[in-house]
């Protein structure tokens, strides 16, 4: 008797179904090393900003007490430039590692899943950016650091649906940390270093171990 059913190995069939569901709905090439390097650059950037502010005699504690009425434009420009360099380096390194992971998996870096990931990340992030500019406009400097974390958390929480789950947990952690930061306004730099630095390194490393190392 010819036994022609089932033809396939059910274990392989289920593996295949899982793989196709993941590949077509999530951007799985995002490299954990993106987070590790972004975290490292964020810490360096925050330290540079802190040293610079100290050198011009501004302390974050003054922001928290709302005694700082305005910051010279030059200072704002230097701080923004510092942040942009950090962002640029993070994106460049992120693209490099993510591209490498995509090649290893034989996937494209630019497809429907990465587009969807970016849109879901960028909308809350852009809203947060504009909101922070209005905070600067109203001289509410102390609120800027926790606000960036909260909106970044929204962005990651939202985008996490379309990539590894760790991004979603990172989002929740950033939101919680940001909210805590709105209570303790004087700790802006510390929560920044924890949120953009340590949390990125932690979750990035977890992702790297789970999805990439030795694979």
């Amino acid at each position: 008797m010819k036994n022609n059913f089932p033809k396939n190995d059910p274990v392989q069939d289920i593996e295949y179904i899982k793989e196709m569901m993941e590949k077509s709905s999530r951007f799985i090439s995002l490299s954990g090393l993106t987070g590790v390097f972004a975290g490292f650059f964020a810490i360096v950037g925050a330290i540079i900003a802190q040293l610079y502010l100290t050198s011009v005699g501004i302390s974050y504690q003054d922001f928290a007490n709302f005694v700082t009425e305005s910051i010279p434009l030059k200072t704002i420009i230097i701080l923004v430039a510092d942040a942009l360099v950090v962002a640029l380096l993070s994106v460049m390194f992120g693209l490099f590692f993510t591209n490498r992971t995509a090649k290893k998996k034989g996937l494209k870096i630019w497809d429907k899943t990465s587009k969807r990931l970016l849109i879901n990340l960028m909308i809350p992030l852009a809203a947060g950016g504009v909101f922070c500019l209005t905070l600067l406009y109203h001289n509410l400097f102390a609120l800027v650091a926790p606000t960036t974390l909260i909106f970044y958390g929204f962005a990651c929480f939202n985008a996490g649906k379309y990539t590894h789950d760790e991004v979603r947990y990172l989002g929740i952690s950033e939101i919680a940390l940001g909210l805590l930061g709105t209570l303790y306004l004087g700790y802006g730099f510390i929560i920044w270093i924890i949120g953009f630095g340590l949390l990125h390194i932690l979750y990035g490393w977890l992702m790297y171990i789970k999805y990439e190392k030795g694979k």
Binding site: F5, P6, K7, N8, P10, V11, D13, I14, Y16, I17, M20, M21, K23, S24, S25, K112
Partner: protein, 98 residues
């Protein structure tokens, strides 16, 4: 054992159909080229599997004009979803028995 095998749907005998259904289950809609690229198939091969699934009313086809070209997208039907999940459960049981 026999019962479990009977629960497996012959329509999902082929890997290609499993792939099509998997993609449609996790996306609201998927277009022809996406299926073709992801499943690494030729136009003809994909089209024959699609029409088989369509005949079974597991998927529905939507055609629209994007500029001058037609764009064909596919969605899974309620029946398709039910049958696929049924098949998936049968596969899982089969593994559990081993």
């Amino acid at each position: 054992m026999k019962n479990i095998i009977e629960n497996l749907n012959k329509a999902f005998d082929s890997r290609v159909r499993l792939g099509i259904m998997s993609m449609l289950l996790v996306n609201d809609e998927v277009d022809f080229n996406e299926l073709k690229e992801r499943l690494e198939l030729t136009d003809g091969n994909l089209a024959s599997h699609i029409s088989a699934l369509e005949k079974l009313e597991f998927i529905t086809v939507f055609k629209e004009f994007v500029g001058k070209k037609t764009k064909t997208t596919y969605k899974v039907t309620a029946t398709g979803k039910k049958e696929f999940n049924h098949h998936l459960r049968a596969l899982e049981k089969l593994i559990a028995k081993k």
